[in-house]
């Protein structure tokens, strides 16, 4: 999360895209990271896109209802 925070500070993006293709596993700590990135982008009027979500991560995110908040592709 610190790396995402640092990059957002540096780039001040309008849209942040997180590519999860190399993510081997996600649990609730991953949900916290995504939620924090989403809130940060939302607060600055920007958007968050999460792409290449592996199946295990997608089920965890869907179980947490994050698919209602964040665009996954």
């Amino acid at each position: 999360m610190r790396t995402i925070d640092e990059l957002m500070e540096l780039e001040i993006p309008r849209i942040t895209t997180l590519d999860l293709q190399h993510l081997s596993f996600m649990d609730s700590s991953g949900i916290a990271v995504l939620l924090r990135a989403y809130r940060r982008m939302n607060d600055s009027g920007g958007g968050l896109v999460v792409r290449n979500v592996p199946s295990q991560s997608l089920r965890v995110l869907q179980a947490a209802g994050l698919n209602r908040l964040i665009s996954f592709c």
Binding site: F25, D27, S28, S29, A32, L35, S55, Q56, R59, V60
Partner: protein, 104 residues
């Protein structure tokens, strides 16, 4: 009377974050004998990871303690028990309320 398991294993490890991945992978390896689907494997790994993380974060917040993982097979069912000897939950009922969310 409780039936005897067809197979079982137990692990004890310190409450280090690096052991979260070890615990879920170890259970996945043990579970392989039941020929689970990929989805079943992933779901078990998720559950184990959450339970072990709970021990690391909440049972031993300021110290390193022992976490015990026991897996038993009964037919085509696996039962995983994860135990700690750390701080308990003084009032269990609020922890069941999804509106009360604590993130670290």
């Amino acid at each position: 009377m409780r039936p005897k398991p067809d197979n079982h294993m137990s692990l004890t490890f310190p409450s280090l974050s690096s052991n979260e991945a070890f615990a879920r992978t170890a259970v996945a390896c043990f579970l392989a004998q039941l020929n689970p689907t990929l989805e079943e494997l992933e779901d078990v790994k998720t559950a184990v990871s959450e339970a072990v993380t709970n021990c690391i974060v909440h049972a031993y917040p300021d110290t390193i303690g022992s976490i015990h993982l026991i897996a038993r097979v009964f037919g085509d069912v696996v039962e995983v028990t994860i135990k700690d000897h750390g701080a308990g939950i003084p009032d269990i009922f609020p922890s069941h309320d999804p509106a009360i969310y604590h993130w670290r």
